[in-house]
Symmetry: D2
């Protein structure tokens, strides 16, 4: 339990700033990790907000310029939880400064940005990770185990959705505090980079590379008031995005993300169909994995709802007792725990920036296909 | 396919008259049965209604006195689908006349009536059956198979409910057409004989004899207008009835039935917990059996929802193709098919009058326990 | 109840021959219809099988040549339940002979066939209907009511699947008795015409015309033994088919059908997302409609599982009592009941051949898009 | 945010020691509470384990004698998370010392113990609370709101279960580290005090006082090796316990708890049926409330699954965004937040020791009824 300190400098104090901060504090209490993260500094342009955030989470200091943060010698790790348009610049500078770099997803607004980020961390040879947190949902970590064990046989189909409904009202402004996800210049794209990126990272992890896509996007509300300028301006993001694709392993797939699916708040779903078995999962009941095993006795075949709370489920022996579930924020805690372990062993913890770039290539292909109405091949990382 | 005719005389034309008539017509179309039921006559006091019913279902004739029906030489089988206060008298007379006798549940309003009915069919040595139709739900027939195969090991618990909500309004009258179930003199009791009787028959079939019970009944609406007299009169039926019990096999159980469970229409549920496995079922999704097998690999244990539509599920190879479900009335069709097969082989088809009497003993014990506030032993048939 | 007779001549005795025959017999027992269908004749090339079928279902006679059937003066209605390659020729001849014509779906193997069939029934001015039976699932009939009442507001999304798993084994032969759905020359296509056609008809009914599609098909097992020739031959059908599309009303959609989704038997699903409400349904629990109403009080919003068994649900007052469900075959019974009523009122009952052609146009566009890898516009009927 | 410190002394370091410690640390990060809990000392007989626990959770010191802990002037609050046989003695001493007292449930092993504890805290006039944590499940806090608003009308029924399966193996020893719940001298009773106590506290909170009970208990495994003595000894706890009861408000109820329900890990369930509405909940999906409102339009009535993740649900605006759920441990965090707020306002936060005593009276009555096989009246607090 004699842990080394690891000094964290966080950029951003929004929703993701909270989930990351909580993860740094909780990971060492529940997991036997080799490092104790120390919350050295939080950085944000708004000094008052940054100070309030620092006080609440116990950050020892505040910076208002990320360059100053990166220059600090007492910072080991830069964690980028600020809007998408800041990812590349900060990550590249942090890598050059020899820091460990953690970055919220998507890696870049475009694959070009993502590629530059990969080049930077590889040149600097620093630990790097993208916060595709859902890989650490215990149910999905179990699914990954089952796939790796070959229990599904040949894969025929994959399907995945991310359904929300929070932007249906045309009164919602675009841009500004908490709303930068509606501003294409900041976010890069709409649901494609925000939501589909999660579906894609998960699919690449579980089912391997995607070869080609045909896609369709739609913007339902064409104009919105911009909260910073006060003017009604054209909306440039995609409100909905869907695509069909083929995976390298021969399976076919459908993907869809939208913020216009009334009744769904954060319904990330996925299903995979193999020769011998199938599995389903969704984020609204994230502690359950639905599993069908064709090798079961015929009259007793069915979809099994596995309540992922037992000690032999991934990550769960570190939590409570069977039957008692964990929540959303625990995925970040698991990611920190795994990152600290890997760092200690001089391994990269997935998803690395390379993994993040692989997802960027797919989102680029999706957006291009939607624009050109042509199938697009997906480059390999 | 050269089938012998079996001439049916039906008493009653209500809800159960419809389900039985449908079953006689459908069974030979879907099952390879040795008899062709012929709808010879329907009997009811109201000649006009009986005539309309006969026309709709194809009965060849109408009787208004059940004694006349029983005297007819061209009737092989008397099917009693009339209110509970008629069961004993008609069944005993039919048995004496050497007819096959089928009787709606509960067998008698009391175990005393039931006992007389058993004595009559045994003295006459005629085929006899009670319409506890739910034994022929395919999901429950599968459960019975699994229990008989010893897959559950020692049984620890059983629980069963029958929840309805149709009598909550105090404006609903008691007695009369379609409402005799609220009239204790006709029905014998309230939910105990009407609903709990189903739970009990199923439990005796699946889990064996019950030894002793402690029970509680309640009448929430104390007075109702009687639809025949027009007067407001005290209500004598039980609106709700629940009991705890011990089975001979050492397991313990809870049972509950009510017509005051807002939101539930016909929610017959049951669950059984054994050393190695557990199962659950309910009537609102009657084509699903929920099954938990502790012998599954640890991290893959869970409740499996078996969609009972495959050819290797009981009765299902005679219906459609996998994935396509059947409904409520099919339980009666299965019961007719099994009865015809058994009759041809000179076997009794369960549930016999003896089985019906076993359930009557339990309902008597429940009502006595509720009245005396004492545990009651249950006599064995 | 003094009903006119309507003389039925059925072509085909397979799975659909059974569902139709059952519907003709059951409809008049549960619905107050103006006609009594009379099962005059069943027609099939195999005389023995036809005779067995006739005996079981009560057909008065047997024909082995459909031309002879159509020539019979005592036949009012020709019902085509034979494989897809027979639809057009029989339907056109039947229309020319002035018969009412009912045809299994899909209408034609191609839109060209379908168009010829529409022309024939319109020229002959005869009642005509396609057996897209799922329109008469009570839950979906309720959904249609809700949509027609404007409860959903502007529609943003539609999605629908039909997932099966029965052809995964490469040992399954193609062609021959019961397997013509695997033979492209008979079936026209694979899952596109067999399964997606159902999804498409339902979507057109609920959400209006489709404008354009981009599609992908796949054949996983490339060669199978042909059960008639005994040779291993290339497989020409599509094993899986999916498409993205835009509807005329501005909504976007994803569709998918496959016979390689392990664990799903007949999982026809659909979901529709509107401005004010959303709904979901699937065939495995066909008696439930999932409904979300955004106009509910905020903290009490949620997906409601409506158990479609009450008297105020479409078709359900003719069946049992609340809580007791019906099954798959009832959709055909409802369709017969509606057809008989419409025929009596000299109305066409939907889905007409025109409706069937509209679906054919979409399946043609899907297959073309998959072949050309280009978006395809869908012609309007 | 200038918070006063509140110095905590924790007794016990087991499962509950972890949940409480986490709650003290997390509450101030997510809720705007007036006190900052300071983890001053943890107390346990095993000094090494206590030290490890202190290190992990950040306790500043360790005690091995609870009396020493209580004597410390720098401790404001004594939190009792040690086995049941220690509750009364420690709580009474802590109250006498003028400390705030928080106690794990059940309050006493018997109502007599509980009564002495209530007397002590009332004489000392100190803030006191029992850790019936499930009152702070957001779904149940919402249910309580709905009941208080009168949305259910007259209540007819209540039912509640707590089903586990972890003691089925007869190889499991009784007594000792982590197994004191199987030792009647330490625990007081088996599932009655451990599990049913939760069901009872919740029921008293939601549905008011219980008047009388009839109960049944069972011990399936009669002898177990004692892990401390090494001898096979008779088992004195109840493995399963169920009861029927009447509430003061006229409703009737069934309760059941067991550790022999194969397939259930911590399945705490409850359902309440009122004149106008019903609700259901269970711990395995604790972020969902199932709600039925009879005042909905007839054909649209159904059970609504409310995903309790929106900002207008109790406690949830302090967590993430809609759709993202919290877990089990959050109930303790909420309880700490509420306690700190109440302490600042010189109010008691429920459930107080009085509430804990009310539950003890019911568990005593249940155990007495099971022993005497007689109905038992329940005393009022």
């Amino acid at each position: 339990m004699a842990r080394k300190n690891l000094n964290v400098g966080l950029v951003g104090y929004g929703f993701m700033g909270r989930t990351h901060s909580n993860a740094y504090l909780q990971a060492p209490r529940f997991f036997d990790v080799p490092y104790q993260p120390v919350l050295k500094a939080v950085c944000a342009r708004n000094a008052d907000r940054a100070k309030g955030f620092a006080e609440n989470w116990g950050y020892q200091s505040v910076e208002t310029d990320w360059r100053a943060l990166i220059e600090r010698k007492d910072i080991d790790l830069i964690d980028i939880a600020s809007p998408n348009d800041t990812h590349a610049e900060i990550a590249i500078a942090a890598a050059k400064a020899g820091k460990m770099v953690l970055c919220e997803k998507p890696l870049g607004r475009t694959a070009a940005e993502g590629k530059a980020m990969v080049d930077a961390v590889e040149a600097a040879n620093v630990p790097n990770m993208v916060w595709y947190n859902y890989r650490r949902v215990p149910a999905l970590a179990l699914l990954k185990q089952l796939l790796d064990e070959g229990r599904f046989g040949r894969i025929f189909h994959y399907r995945s959705q991310f359904l929300q409904d929070w932007t249906i009202s045309s009164d919602l402004p675009q841009g500004g505090e908490g709303l930068w996800r509606l501003d294409a210049s900041v976010a890069g794209s709409g649901v494609t980079g925000d939501l589909l990126a999660h579906n894609i990272d998960m699919a690449l992890w579980l089912n391997g590379p995607i070869s080609e896509v045909t896609a369709m996007t739609e913007t339902f509300v064409k104009e919105r008031k911009h909260s910073l300028t006060g003017h009604v301006e054209p909306v440039h993001i995609d409100d909905a995005s869907s695509f069909l694709c083929r995976f390298k392993n021969g399976s076919t797939a459908t993907f869809e993300a939208t913020r216009y699916a009334r009744g769904h708040k954060a319904l990330f779903t996925l299903e995979i169909n193999g020769e011998f078995a199938s599995a389903k999962w969704d984020l609204h009941d994230l502690h359950r994995l639905e599993f069908f095993d064709h090798r079961d006795e015929g009259r007793l075949r069915g979809w099994k709802s596995i309540h992922i709370t037992d000690g032999d489920h991934p990550y769960m022996k570190n939590w409570w007792v069977p039957g008692l579930q964990i929540g959303y924020e625990h995925t970040f805690i698991h990611q920190v725990a795994d990152f600290l372990q890997a760092a200690d062993e001089h391994r990269q913890a997935a998803p690395t920036f390379q993994d993040g770039l692989a997802a960027d290539y797919v989102t680029d292909a999706v957006l291009n296909s939607a624009k050109t109405k042509q199938w697009q091949n997906v480059p390999r990382v």
